[in-house]
């Protein structure tokens, strides 16, 4: 069942170049977690804004997203009122490479899954992590 993740599509025309700039800032395989700017997109709609994307796939349950947010907040020692949502990117939350591997390990422990390195590389947002978790949890139980 296809569904749209994230909030309503905004009309802010942030150029795609803005997304690329994310990479220039700091480099390490995990610090700027992913270099892939292309997002999965609807066939008929293309989003250019760097921080939002559409995804045609089964999206994670809100509880999963919330649990991921909690784990991320704890690892990065963010205050309770820091807004962390599915769209939050790890890099903009201040996660460095060590934080990212710790978050992955925390998620593995919390959900009883095992994340392969290649999959871990493709996670840039909280939503990515939640979707991957549900995929692995489903695969485990099927």
């Amino acid at each position: 069942m296809a569904s749209i993740s994230g909030t309503a599509i905004g009309t802010s025309a942030r150029p795609l170049l803005a997304a690329r700039a994310q990479v220039v800032k700091g480099f390490s395989g995990l610090k700027s977690v992913s270099f892939s700017i292309q997002r999965k997109s609807f066939p008929s709609v293309r989003l250019q804004a760097a921080s939002r994307r559409l995804q045609v796939s089964c999206v994670a349950k809100p509880e999963t997203v919330q649990k991921v947010c909690d784990i991320v907040k704890k690892q990065l020692a963010l205050s309770d009122d820091t807004p962390v949502t599915g769209e939050s990117k790890f890099s903009t939350l201040g996660a460095d490479s060590l934080d990212t591997v710790e978050i992955v390990m925390g998620l593995e422990e919390a959900f009883g899954i095992s994340v392969e390195e290649e999959s871990a590389q493709s996670i840039t947002t909280v939503q990515d992590a939640a979707d991957l978790i549900e995929k692995l949890v489903d695969a485990k139980s099927s």
């Binding site: 700039a21 220039v24 800032k25 480099f27 395989g29 270099f35 807004p83 903009t92 390990m105």
Partner: protein
């Protein structure tokens, strides 16, 4: 940092910038180029920045894309850090151009693996120096390493950094068997903690020097360790007395990847710092000492530079 955005739209208030004119920040003192075996490191301590108008000056150095990136960071502290990082890279590189290039004029691109590098313009009567750089930051320090034409990686971590996960769990997951075995020999938990962090910075620095990204150079595939003194390496060079840091592939133990040299030290009494630099084979060293040389400056761009190489700010160097 919405206050900065608002300021961009308002006429300048001269009283808030009384100390120096906005249009021309103090010129950066020129710096001599790094020599073949040298890494120059410039670091900034964000907490030393007390003058808010400086942030405005730094913001002016950035490209529009970089500014957007800074403003996307979550919260003022992270925004300030991101801003300082870009300002540090730009001002540092500008120092080596003998006043010909301003910090604002630099352009950046990614190599084919995604590593940021300078995109040099072509000039008729001047060849810009082939500088290579790499940056690393924590919330309390940002460091930029520069070499002349040699790939470099740098990583810093706070000495006090604690991990949420157990050290050996992390090591089992991400480090090579030799490295795990080494950490297991350390009985004292604090010692194990600090050795883990130091090894982490070395591995990060190596991956960043290679420039192929974490997935191109998985941590598990290589070992970094100390090599005993007085051993002959593959090139047949005799080592000096001190043990040295070496890297080898897990699949090819005993064959040291001599192309890369390291330095590990403490910076500002607060951070473990690792530097990895490609060995310069074009300029073979005379004598025995071909280890990586360091020159280190603490800086607050446009305010203060201090060479700290021979001071307590740079301690416990292992190469």
């Amino acid at each position: 940092m919405s206050w900065l955005l608002r300021r961009n739209m308002l006429p300048l208030h001269s009283n808030s910038l009384a100390r120096r004119p906005f249009a021309s920040p103090l010129p950066l003192p020129p710096a001599s180029l790094p020599s073949p075996r040298e890494t120059h490191i410039w670091y900034v301590v964000p907490d030393e920045l007390k003058d808010a108008s400086l942030l405005y000056q730094y913001m002016e150095l950035l490209s529009p894309c970089e500014r957007q990136s800074v403003l996307r960071m979550n919260g003022e502290r992270l925004q300030k850090g991101a801003l300082l990082a870009r300002a540090l890279v730009r001002t540092t590189l500008a120092r080596y151009t003998d006043g010909r290039l301003s910090p604002k004029s630099f352009k950046f691109q990614k190599n084919r693996f995604g590593k940021p590098e300078v995109e040099w313009d072509k000039y008729d009567l001047w060849a810009p120096p082939p500088l290579q750089f790499n940056i690393s930051h924590t919330s309390t320090m940002i460091a930029c390493g520069v070499t002349l034409d040699l790939p470099i990686g740098i990583d810093i971590e706070e000495k006090q950094r604690k991990t949420s996960n157990n050290i050996l769990s992390l090591a089992h997951r991400y480090f090579s068997p030799v490295e795990v075995a080494y950490l297991k020999t350390l009985a004292d938990p604090e010692c194990r903690q600090s050795e883990f962090i130091r090894l982490w910075t070395l591995k990060e620095a190596y991956v960043k020097a290679l420039g192929r990204g974490f997935s191109g150079t998985p941590f598990k595939d290589f070992t970094i360790r100390l090599e005993a003194s007085n051993s002959k390496q593959v090139t047949g060079e005799l080592k000096s007395d001190a043990p040295s840091i070496v890297v080898e592939a897990v699949d090819d133990p005993g064959i040291l990847m001599n192309r890369w040299q390291f330095a590990l030290f403490e910076l500002n009494n607060s951070h473990y710092t690792a530097v990895c630099m490609e060995r310069d084979v074009k300029n073979p060293a005379d004598g025995e000492n071909n280890s990586l040389k360091l020159e280190v400056w603490r800086t607050l761009p446009f305010v203060e530079d201090e060479c700290v190489t021979e001071t307590d700010a740079v301690k416990n160097i292992i190469r």
